[in-house]
């Protein structure tokens, strides 16, 4: 059996991979549906898009479920804290996630104008809402959110829904919407008919620029945003007791990891490069490569978030020592070992199967 420390690290990487899988598959769907009103589509074009995405939709939702399940199995306490704190946010994400496959499957089962326009609106909301709210969630994770662990490990969330809508988190939310829009627009540029292709191209280029500006702004803000740092000695193979450490907070501490490991700068830099590359590729009608570049940017953006916060998974801004890290909130060694040996191969199979399904839909 592997060391507890290595296991925690590997499972954290695995969680990242599942998050990337979710972002790439579900993100595409969200992006396409949130673009629907801006593409001036004719009814046959709408039908075509729905027909293209319908077979993929259930598989995409399974990525969402898989990412949540891996978080639950690997860091049960983090799962408990995050889902109980952001309960109302997740309620909306979940409703959207349920509506979308049904919309794709059944949008075209009636020809009534009202029925169709109703579904189109529902699909738009079911794309925009989770794209924005998951961004908002990421922003709040970076800022830290107000939860407290009592000595018997009962979790209390002391914030309010309104408090989650702070300027920094809204910026991250906008950034996430722009990136998903760009990614989806490149997809439509690749697969749409001739006139759709042209409109998607313009949209993709605009969205990429918007994303790069917003991503840069987030980066600049983070240098002054209060980050978190464990001040007591970290015991990477210690018991999972989050209350046994001290945490401090300070401006720019989220950049700590980059100072210790300058190679990590490659991640955010590559996001920029991939974004710029995608813009150029869109311009010269290399839509396939543009989409790949944007997928890379999306994956790297998710990883940048994870690496900046490392080893924190859920920092608390009112009870600093309650913050949860990958070391002191993980599942037991046996559980992590099982998770790694099962979910690792499963990720590979899932990735290949998803790729195959997208391919046959081409």
């Amino acid at each position: 059996m592997l060391d507890y420390e290595i296991l925690r690290l590997l499972c954290w990487g695995l969680l990242g991979l599942f998050a990337v899988g979710f972002a790439l598959t579900n993100g595409l769907e969200m992006g396409v549906t949130l673009l629907l009103p801006f593409l001036q589509l004719s009814e046959p074009q709408r039908r075509q898009i729905a027909a293209r995405l319908a077979p993929l939709s259930a598989g995409n939702q399974a990525w969402l479920a898989a990412a949540i399940a891996v978080l639950y199995a690997g860091w049960p306490t983090v799962y408990a804290v995050v889902f109980s704190s952001f309960q109302n946010l997740f309620l909306c994400v979940m409703l959207a996630a349920c509506i979308r496959p049904l919309g794709f499957y059944f949008r075209n089962s009636h020809d009534h104008r009202e029925w169709l326009s109703y579904w189109d609106k529902a699909l738009f909301v079911s794309g925009l809402l989770p794209a924005a709210l998951l961004g908002l969630l990421a922003g709040n994770m970076l800022k830290g959110f107000p939860f407290h662990l009592s000595s018997d490990m009962h979790i209390a969330f002391l914030g309010s829904l309104a408090g989650l809508f702070n300027p920094f988190s809204l910026l991250v939310a906008a950034c996430s919407v722009a990136l998903l829009a760009a990614y989806a627009a490149a997809y439509l540029q690749l697969h749409g008919g001739p006139d759709l292709r042209l409109r998607a191209k313009t949209l993709a280029q605009t969205a990429v620029i918007l994303f790069l500006v917003l991503f840069g702004l987030c980066g600049a803000w983070i240098t002054h945003l209060e980050g978190y740092h464990v001040t007591t000695e970290i015991v990477p193979d210690g018991a999972s007791n989050p209350l046994a450490k001290f945490v401090k907070r300070g401006d720019g501490l989220w950049l700590d990891n980059y100072e210790h490991e300058p190679a990590l700068w490659a991640l955010p830099c590559l996001v920029f490069l991939a974004g710029i590359g995608a813009w150029a590729l869109c311009k010269f009608d290399r839509a396939y490569w543009a989409m790949l570049a944007l997928a890379l940017a999306l994956a790297l953006a998710v990883l940048t978030l994870g690496v900046s916060m490392f080893p924190f998974l859920a920092p608390s801004n009112i009870s600093l020592n309650s913050s949860l890290t990958i070391w002191d909130a993980s599942a037991s060694r046996t559980a992590l070992h099982g998770l790694l040996s099962f979910a690792g191969p499963a990720w590979l199979v899932m990735a290949l199967a998803t790729r195959g399904l997208y391919r046959i839909q081409r």
Partner: protein, 462 residues
């Protein structure tokens, strides 16, 4: 607490409505397609497509309710998620990663792959969907079986939670396996009842004969086999393992459980000791005798926690409070008694339906009363399976994890307004989804096999 439970109940009801139907239908579809292919019949495809459409709808709702469950465990039951997640999440991961993903991906191929895949490859995709659905049910049964009979996990005082020590024990939990077999068979019966009712509806109107004829016969046969097996296998296997399961069995049979009550009182006393020692351990007292004492009393810690409802500090609880806790440690007798009666009643009703339908199929008779009874018996299998779930889940009270964690400790510390909002949204969303589903199902049935392809495919590929 009550709000959390109602919210969870809405969710669970939805789950129990659609998961059995989905699992059962996936098997029915596999049998149908394999039978058509093996017999070299060209007319099986429209059948598979028609039932596949209904399956897609049911799968969508199961997926939605499974996702909602995943959100619920963290949102509403955060202390449970922390306290038991280490062991509980294992089967969940298996169900989601292996089952849900296989089924969801296979679904894409199965519903839309008719023109793209060869016959045998299509059968393979149907196979994948069926396998995935069964794995989901297995993961779900293993997780829920663990809550009733928590094997393979040990309490860890430092992390203050149950920690997994033996994967194998969790996945081969005898209660979970018995539960899986029982609910799988009843899922087949639910799906057969569903198919039978729709086929009878068509036959009654003499419509869609090409569809209703084979479907009617197959579902009658499958249903008969499934329901007989369910009744023969019974649910006794689920109740053998622990004293709590035995007390549940007593309640079902309307017998008094005085000896178990006395035993539980003893366990509560023991639990108080365990709780007191745990507090010292939490204060970093690491004396060997304390550790040994705690290790011995640990299995009864849950009974100490049971007291928290009446006496938060546990350690100095009075006899009256211990009495209350002991009374509460037994599952509620009356609902279990009547729930079980209802399950058996509906099960027998379903058996009669399948029997008469089977006779009708064999003799080729089409009396309207026979068809009507098959139609109106549609809820019977569902109610039988639903009451089965009810005794299984409600019968766990006062525990969320039997002998380990009381339900009232497991909820999140959410304000009533948050919970009320959540409940309202859930209620609205679910009634909305449910009515949408019924509307769409009725439309699919009305369309019959007239439009064979799913409407989204009409315009061809993009």
């Amino acid at each position: 607490m009550e709000l959390s439970r109602s919210q969870f109940a809405i969710n669970a009801v939805q789950h129990f409505l659609f998961v059995p139907l989905t699992v059962g239908l996936s098997f029915f579809l596999l049998v149908l397609e394999a039978w058509g292919l093996a017999g070299g019949r060209s007319d099986y495809q429209p059948l598979c497509r028609f039932w596949g459409k209904l399956f897609g709808l049911s799968f969508g709702l199961s997926l939605a309710s499974s996702l909602a469950m995943l959100f619920q465990f963290g949102g509403n039951w955060s202390y449970f998620a922390h306290y038991a997640g280490d062991a509980f999440a294992g089967p969940v991961v298996v169900g989601v990663l292996a089952g849900l993903f296989t089924a969801a991906n296979g679904l894409g191929w199965m519903l839309y792959g008719w023109d793209k895949l060869g016959k045998w490859y299509h059968l393979l995709s149907t196979c994948a969907v069926c396998l995935g659905c069964h794995l989901i049910l297995f993961g779900f049964s293993a997780a829920s079986g663990w809550m009733q009979y928590p094997v393979g996990a040990e309490f860890d005082p430092q992390a203050l939670r149950m920690e997994l020590v033996d994967w194998h024990a969790v996945l081969t939990n005898p209660v979970a396996l018995a539960k899986f077999a029982h609910s799988l068979l009843s899922a087949y019966a639910v799906a057969a009842g569903f198919v039978l009712a729709i086929s009878a509806y068509y036959r009654l109107r003499s419509a869609e004969t090409a569809l209703s004829e084979p479907s009617y016969c197959m579902s009658a046969g499958l249903g008969l086999l499934a329901i007989v097996a369910t009744l023969l296998l019974g649910d006794a296997g689920i109740y053998k393992q622990s004293s709590f399961q035995r007390s549940k069995l007593m309640a079902i049979n309307g017998l008094p459980a005085d000896d178990i009550l006395a035993q539980n009182r003893q366990r509560i006393d023991n639990g108080i000791q365990a709780y007191a020692m745990l507090q010292q351990l939490r204060d970093d007292n690491r004396q060997p005798e304390l550790l040994a004492g705690f290790a011995a009393a640990k299995p009864d810690l849950g009974y100490g926690l049971l007291l928290k409802r009446w006496h938060d500090t546990v350690v100095d609880a009075g006899p009256a409070q211990i009495d209350l806790a002991a009374q509460a440690s037994l599952p509620p007798a009356a609902p279990l008694y009547w729930g079980h009666k209802a399950m058996v009643l509906f099960g027998v009703l379903a058996l009669l339906t399948f029997l008469t339908a089977g006779l009708g199929a064999v003799t080729g008779r089409r009396q309207p009363w026979l068809l009507k009874s098959a139609m109106y018996a549609l809820p019977a299998t569902w109610l039988a399976s639903g009451s089965g779930w009810f005794i299984s889940e409600f019968g766990d009270q006062p525990w969320i994890v039997v002998d380990v964690l009381p339900t009232w400790l497991a909820v999140s510390a959410l304000g009533p307004s948050d919970l009320a909002l959540g409940l309202a949204v859930y209620g609205l969303a679910y009634s909305g989804l449910l009515s949408l589903a019924i509307l769409l199902a009725m439309q699919i049935v009305k369309q019959g096999t007239a439009e064979l392809a799913l409407p989204v495919e009409e315009s061809g590929d993009a």
